[in-house]
Amino acid sequence: MAGGLRTPGDVIGRVRADVERNALRARNGIKLVAGVGKPRLGQTPKDLVWSRGHAQLWRYRSDRVTLQPPLLIIFSLVSKSYVLDLQPGNSFVEHLQSAGFDVFLLDWREADERQAGERLEDYADGYLPEAVAHTGEAAGADTVNLFGYCYGGVLSLLYAAHHPDAALRSLTVMATPVDFSKWGLWRDLADHELPLDAILDEDGNVPASTIRQGFRLLKPTGEIRQYATLLDNVWNDAYVTAYQAMTGWSNDHVPFPGAAARQTLEMLVRDNGFVCDRVRLGGDLVRLSDIRFPLLTVIAERDHIVPEPVAAPLPELVGSEDNEVLRLDAGHVGLVVGRTAAKITIPRIIDFLKVRSEKVAR
């Protein structure tokens, strides 16, 4: 008999398994279509420490803090931060807490007309220095380990380069673009004089829907593959839950403040400001070579949003002597979510930070 079904018992077992799978397919299919049973995301308890404008500084509650200085995560301006704390057991924040870190997050409320005029200076010279000061004050520490993810990494680099005397113990940037000349579609759009004024919404920001469409264009068949994989695994409860969490996040963008978007497009992307030393903040020339803090650059080799060649030049551009690179066989989000993150990325990041931290008496 085909497929190794030798006895009637095998046949019955196979039929039973197929029937069960089909029942699960039907149930999960209905759940997906109806949009019910969505997993709860970002559940680690946290408290608001400070806020100004659309910046919010959160401190994750923990009674397991054994390391100082605190770790301040700077999140991106175009997506939502719950990806760092997706679900219990699959949470970047949870791993950091388990290692003994006092974890803070600088997050951004959805930008509205009040943020339309905010420039990169408002972030690098305003929100970030204040967040670092408030983090240190709340944790009773003189310095902070700074951690920037994606565009949060860009903001962290601008801050660290423009404030070489900042109270930072170390700087870690993950999936952070620096060489924009190799940034594929985004660079092409900048070269084609993308009409930013025509894209801005009535608040003066780049709408979330435009950002979502832009990301989809980076991998035009990506969504079809996602649906095909879902179809294949729709019987699997764990897969469906993870799919709902991840797909929900990857479609959950936020508006990008208009003035910062214009500077990003013109100064960082079109002029390739980081590589060509053409970044100016408040009239000052800002050079990555002025960064002297211990630096860890985390690069995802299968990242289609910030491809490896875009992120890789950073270690050569900074002035840090303590300068490490971590290359991983992962995608943009796989750095913080999933099994590779739990087994490889996060432990390596923790190792780097532990060396640059000290134990505190409990």
């Binding site: 009040r114 759009l189 993308l194 894209i199 264009l217 035009p220 068949t221 079809i224 593959r225 294949d232």
Partner: protein, 102 residues
């Protein structure tokens, strides 16, 4: 045979052929030019609709959506200035406290 079901073998083959072409297409000059044109056309259409609705609302002495947007922007500007003043004030106070301690 790599042990994959037929569905996935067909899908992978099709994607192998289609994906690079689509990626090239979205980075081609005509596509990028069309994107720019489309954005400009949409913005123009939005402005036209706004102008017409503004005329209509103003006819019955009511504020139009664009008036509200204008007001919101002015409030936002005020909010920004207020924030800058409060930051300057906080810094001045912190400096004064430091001087007092010294």
């Amino acid at each position: 045979m790599d042990g994959k079901p037929l569905f996935w073998r067909v899908f992978d083959k099709a994607e192998e052929v289609v994906a690079p072409r689509l990626e090239d297409a979205v980075r081609s000059d005509p596509f990028l030019a069309a994107l720019g044109l489309g954005a400009r056309a949409r913005a123009r259409l939005r402005r036209d609709v706004e102008r017409r609705s503004q005329w209509l609302w103003h006819l019955v002495n009511l504020p139009a959506g664009s008036d509200v947007t204008h007001l919101r922007r002015q409030v936002a500007e005020l909010d920004r200035e207020l924030r800058q003043v409060s930051i300057a004030l906080e810094h001045a106070l912190a400096e004064r406290r430091r001087d007092e301690v010294d």
